[in-house]
């Protein structure tokens, strides 16, 4: 299937998907609604990561940096300045994009590729975590508790607990993220980004400026990830350096794309769903295990152990991810 036309079809799928997902809060509430919200958030982060890691081919092990910047920007703006979190979201997106361009420029300029690049992104995220842990200006290790704000709930992005409005917001943000990524990959810039991933030298020989388009992908990916971080803070009302910049966060961000299908539009969404289902399944299993698995009662770590096993299995047997492999099979058939 020709690449450019594929992305056209994705727009239709997006529209249809959104329509189908809008009425979900009518059927789900309470705990299940929370799960749905988290799935959509994961999907957003995964799609954002995939732009840089999958489409641009720049594997990032440190996306928590962007997530955390978005989260903290929102926390500071809301807590210290009493402004709307939407401002924090925009500010966070801009700052994350700037940080991404800086880190990306340094790395690309000095020829960091592949694993070295991945390790460098990991190092930068960790450095941010350590800095924020020591910086009093952002409450060091204590983090931020988001205060309840008065005013129009859509402006303050604070709804009563369990409100379906959170769902609508994250659905809209996910749709926006997908729209941005689809439109970008559909455009001239998107074709150039793909060509750089495939073969940077050949792309340059055809007039494509590698630095410019790689940085473009990084900046957009960073901004979208930061938006996810902003939502996180508003939904959970709390952020600290580990929750924002921790290595675990970077892993959770890249996991959906790996599992679902790196370098595809829908892979990360599918991956997010799989991961959440497995996660919830293992949590339920641990809470009330069947008699022959009694030993699992109250044990922590099962869900992450499963994620680990999942990564191993995917790399060994499904390097294109679940969605990616399915798509290949369908195409060949």
């Amino acid at each position: 299937m020709e690449v450019l036309r594929r992305f056209d079809r994705d727009l239709l799928v997006l529209a249809a998907g959104v329509l189908v997902l809008i009425p979900v809060p009518l059927f789900l509430s309470g705990f299940l609604l929370e799960v749905a919200i988290q799935t959509l958030l994961f999907g957003l982060l995964g799609v954002a990561w995939n732009l840089m890691g999958g489409f641009a081919g720049q594997f990032s092990f440190g996306h928590a940096a962007f997530f955390g910047i978005g989260a903290y920007a929102t926390a500071v703006v809301v807590t210290d300045y009493g402004l709307s979190p939407w401002i924090g979201m925009l500010l966070g997106a801009a700052l994350a994009a700037a940080f991404g361009v800086l880190v990306g420029f340094l790395s690309f300029r000095y020829g960091l590729k592949g694993v070295f690049f991945a390790l460098a992104t990991f190092a930068f995220a960790e450095m941010l975590r350590l800095i924020f842990r020591s910086l009093e200006a952002v409450n060091a290790a204590r983090g931020f508790n988001i205060p309840i704000q008065s005013g129009n709930p859509w402006l303050t992005l604070q709804f009563p607990q369990g409100s379906p409005n959170y769902y609508y917001v994250i659905l809209a943000l996910l749709a926006l993220t997908l729209l941005v990524v689809i439109l970008l990959m559909r455009s001239r810039a998107g074709t150039f980004i793909l060509s750089i991933r495939e073969n940077e030298d050949a792309a340059a020989a055809l007039g494509v400026n590698p630095m410019r388009y790689k940085l473009l992908a990084v900046a957009v990916s960073a901004a979208l990830t930061a938006i996810g971080g902003a939502f996180y803070v508003q939904y959970f009302f709390f952020i600290d350096p580990d929750l924002a910049f921790g290595a675990g966060v970077s892993i959770q961000i890249l996991l959906p794309a790996i599992v679902g299908g790196i370098g595809t539009i829908w892979g990360p969404v599918v991956g997010a769903l799989i991961i959440i289902v497995l996660g919830q399944g293992s949590t339920a299993l641990v809470r009330t295990p069947p008699p022959f698995l009694d030993v699992l009662q109250g044990v922590s770590g099962l869900d992450v152990a499963i994620y680990g096993a999942l990564i191993v299995l995917v790399v060994l047997f499904l390097p294109r991810g679940v969605f990616g492999t399915l798509r290949e099979r369908l195409r060949a058939a």
Binding site: A123, E126, L130, S300, G301, V304, V312
Partner: protein, 338 residues
């Protein structure tokens, strides 16, 4: 770029710039810095001693990691997890079988050698041809799996193992060495000294193995030229398995050695893992000597950094070195593969 006809790379300019900046800082604040150093002599000497002792352990851990990379071209993100695994194995032996922690080396090291060899044979062998990111991902998944199974079995409660010679001191024939030791006015805890010495001994053993035995020669041959090695009849796959086992055995030894003075949790290996990566890049990927030197250096950087700037997490300085190395001298201090 060219400066007056001289070819100058951006990188060397950056290094030069750094050097000039450091020199300038030294000249401007050198006097004050010296006075400060005099006043804080004790703290600084302590930092050097602690850094050295810890650095020895880092060296051992990193040598295992760099050996694995040099021969198999695999960046083993599960290295730290194996360390934790070894530590729990020793812990169980100490608690339940009455072993002394150092005696448990006799079991933990071969056990982890075997486990590492198995992992290579069964899992990693399949991804040898895949891009490095996939291998990193695979070993990362493995790390998650191992650490969380440990979490499930042992929970996150910190475990400790007592240093057996704390009260009695180490009997050595006529004398008994009582800790802690006094080194130039700094305190050196006995278990740390033992870990340091033990690491050096094992590192020495590794060197001997690599340089003086036929097995070591075969391993080095595979690292240099896998195809050539295969052509002269070396079973390359077997060498891979053995090497991975050796690397894992190194980190297992390091883990058992630090058990008497660190508290043990499933995530204890993580910090060593990250530091090992920094050391390996600093020393040069695949360069065993580089890992040895790099380990000591990073230990010093960590402790001295913490001494100079008390407010910040010591790991920060390690990461600064890491990023600088990646940018300015990615091949490491000693270059790759020796």
């Amino acid at each position: 770029m060219t400066v007056k006809g001289l070819k100058v790379s951006g990188r060397s300019l950056a290094l030069l710039g750094l050097g000039i900046a450091a020199l300038a800082l030294l000249l401007v604040w050198g006097g004050e810095a010296l006075a400060w150093a005099q006043d804080n002599r004790v703290v600084l000497v302590q930092a050097v001693v602690t850094g050295l002792l810890l650095g020895g352990v880092y060296s051992l851990v990193s040598m295992g990691l760099t050996l694995i990379f040099g021969v198999l071209d695999i960046l083993n993100f599960a290295h730290g997890a194996f360390m934790a695994l070894a530590m729990y194995a020793s812990f169980v032996l100490v608690r339940n079988a009455g072993f002394g922690p150092y005696l448990s080396l006799l079991i933990s090291v071969p056990l982890l050698f075997f486990i590492g060899a198995l992992v290579q044979r069964v899992l990693l062998d399949r991804v040898m041809d895949q891009p490095h990111e996939n291998q990193l991902l695979l070993t990362f998944g493995l790390a998650l799996l191992i650490e969380n199974v440990l979490l499930m079995v042992f929970t996150a409660t910190p475990r400790t193992v007592e240093f057996p010679y704390a009260q009695t001191g180490i009997p050595l024939g006529i004398t008994t060495i009582q800790g802690p030791l006094n080194v130039f006015g700094a305190v050196a805890d006995l278990p740390r000294v033992i870990a340091f010495l033990g690491s050096l001994v094992i590192a020495g053993g590794l060197f001997y193995l690599l340089q003086r035995t036929s097995l070591g020669t075969a391993i080095r041959a595979v690292a240099e030229n896998p195809d050539g090695a295969a052509m002269v009849g070396i079973d390359v796959r077997r060498m891979h398995v053995i090497t991975f086992g050796l690397g894992t055995a190194c980190v297992a030894a390091a883990g058992t050695l630090v058990l008497p003075f660190l508290s043990l949790q499933p995530t204890t290996g993580e910090q060593f893992n990250v530091i090992a990566f920094v050391v390996v890049v600093l020393g040069g990927l695949g360069n065993v000597v580089g890992a040895l030197v790099g380990g000591i250096l990073i230990g010093l950087v960590q402790e001295l950094g913490g001494a100079f700037v008390p407010g910040v997490d010591k790991l920060f300085f390690v990461f600064v070195v890491f990023v600088l190395t990646l940018l300015l001298r990615p091949q490491g201090l000693f270059g790759r593969k020796s």
